[in-house]
């Protein structure tokens, strides 16, 4: 088992180190999410409710996540290292888990900026919102990594990934916004946890079928 | 015909039209397959006469 987890840790660490050196993805995500929040201010009518502002936050988070996901496999594809990874004597699903963890890390960095920005521009951030974001992150990273691998083999992958991702992300938006604004956030948080469980297991189990030639 | 009846017919006709459209598309496909088959038969004959 330590072999498996060791592989996962090594893979995740590799992605984070590459990002540390090249700084391709996270700065862009930070800038994008703040820019989006500013744009939304101008997009929202004057009497918009709290609901609208929270909804906008989730849209911003979703599209920022897409930035990370689109770039998640770009490195491997461009350097042809995905084939190398596949041939490596590790369980294919370990690749998925490693990738998911690094995407998760990128999301957390982006949210560390996005949530304070949201608190500054719109309204204060409740613990329910943070919990919702944390749970949604898992779903986004898990499903997004799998779909990213699917899109990596295709032409026009930057266009394809949002198309694949958005329908599957709808329940996450419902859960997240619900956790933020509803009277009983517990239901929505539980739903997010259920989504995470179902789709993480599915993604973990099916990843190897998606990457092998 | 009452409004309700008009919409009822609209709904039924939409389904009917969809099926007919499907038939048209399938027959076009069959036509294409026949042409392709004829062209391949031609190729096979040429091969034979060339001494394959």
């Amino acid at each position: 088992m330590t072999g498996y987890l060791g592989d996962v840790a090594a893979l995740a660490r590799k992605d984070l180190l590459v990002e540390l050196r090249t700084r391709d993805t996270v700065p862009a995500m930070l800038l994008f999410v703040v820019a989006a929040l500013v744009v939304f201010h101008f997009a929202l009518p004057a009497e918009s409710s709290r609901l609208a502002a929270s909804g906008m936050l989730w849209i911003a988070l979703l599209f920022t996540a897409l930035l990370a996901l689109v770039r998640a496999f770009v490195g491997e594809r461009d350097q042809g290292t995905l084939d190398g990874l596949i041939l490596a004597p590790c369980d294919r699903s370990a690749i998925w888990l490693g990738k998911t963890l690094s995407v998760l890390a990128f999301l957390l960095f982006a949210e560390a900026v996005a949530l304070p920005a949201f608190a500054l521009f719109y309204e204060h951030v409740t613990w329910e919102l943070v919990a919702g974001v944390a749970l949604a992150n898992v779903g986004i990273a898990a499903v997004g990594t799998l779909l990213g691998a699917m899109a990596a083999a295709a032409r026009a992958r930057e266009l394809l990934l949002p198309l694949l991702f958005l329908p599957v992300a709808i329940p996450l938006v419902v859960g997240g916004v619900g956790a933020t604004v509803a009277d009983d956030p517990g239901r929505y948080l539980a739903f997010l946890a259920l989504y995470d469980l179902i789709f993480a297991i599915l993604s973990w189990a099916s990843f190897e079928y998606v990457v092998t030639e | 015909m009452s409004t309700g009846e008009k919409y009822l017919w609209a709904a039924y006709l939409v389904v009917f039209a969809a099926v007919l459209l499907y038939v048209v598309l399938i027959s076009l496909k069959v036509g294409r397959l026949e042409r392709e088959l004829a062209s391949l038969a031609e190729l096979a004959r040429d091969r034979e006469t060339r001494g394959g």
Partner: protein, 229 residues
């Protein structure tokens, strides 16, 4: 399934579908009673719901074939899964269109978000349309088959999850609640419904087998061309 068996099956199923469709629609128009509240427009139910259920059936069939592909590695299941998804989308679009017509006649609007089934179909339509995008932009081969299969499996997992999400979403946004009293299904209504459902399933089956034949012939001809040219 051998070619001749499939073709004979398609012919037989087409005949069955034709007979059931005539029977079902005749029952719906001439025999089934009019609904007390909604009047005659309620009869849209006899196409709308069977088409919706057939769409679900097609997606589940696609997922089943996808599972078989991943399990056994038999490439033949790829076209079967693909064709089933195609059927699901066609019937899904019909569900949306007939549902929209029904909404217009019931409430004067072409779309209402409070109709859970319609919203679910909208999400599924988006999801399975992306399936075709995925197939078209990936090069043919075992990788495309497997990727499509995994995606088809995700689809059926999405169905219950999305439905839950839609129900939860209703608690957040307060729509003008348009609710339609479900028909109290007395015997004659239920029988008509069953016949129409059987008809739509048979129709989908016939179209599925026909389209599958076309796709297999396409593949065979392509292979033949490569050999000859």
């Amino acid at each position: 399934m051998s070619t001749s068996l499939r073709n004979n099956g398609a012919a037989l199923l087409s005949l069955t579908a034709a007979a059931l469709l005539v029977a079902g629609l005749s029952l719906a128009i001439f025999w089934a009673p009019e609904d007390a509240d909604q009047g005659i427009s309620q009869k849209i139910f006899y196409v709308h719901v069977p088409v919706a259920l057939t769409s679900y059936a097609a997606f589940f069939w696609a997922a089943w074939k996808a599972l078989r592909l991943l399990w056994k590695g038999d490439e033949r299941h790829d076209l079967e899964s693909y064709t089933a998804v195609h059927m699901g989308v066609i019937f899904g679009v019909l569900t949306l269109v007939t549902g929209s017509i029904w909404a217009k006649v019931s409430w004067g609007q072409w779309w209402v978000w409070s109709e859970r089934q319609l919203t679910l179909f909208l999400i599924l339509f988006l999801f399975y349309s992306a399936y075709f995008m995925l197939r078209y932009s990936t090069d043919p081969g075992p990788r495309r088959s497997r990727t499509s299969a995994v995606y088809a499996l995700f689809g059926v997992a999405l169905i219950p999850v999305s439905f839950m999400a839609i129900r939860l979403a209703e608690g957040l946004i307060h729509p003008v609640v348009f609710k339609r009293d479900g028909p109290d299904m007395e015997g004659s209504m239920f029988l008509t419904f069953c016949v129409c459902l059987a008809a739509m399933l048979a129709l989908a089956g016939a179209l599925y087998l026909t389209e599958l034949s076309g796709k297999r012939a396409d593949a065979s001809l392509r292979e033949l061309r490569e050999r000859l040219a």
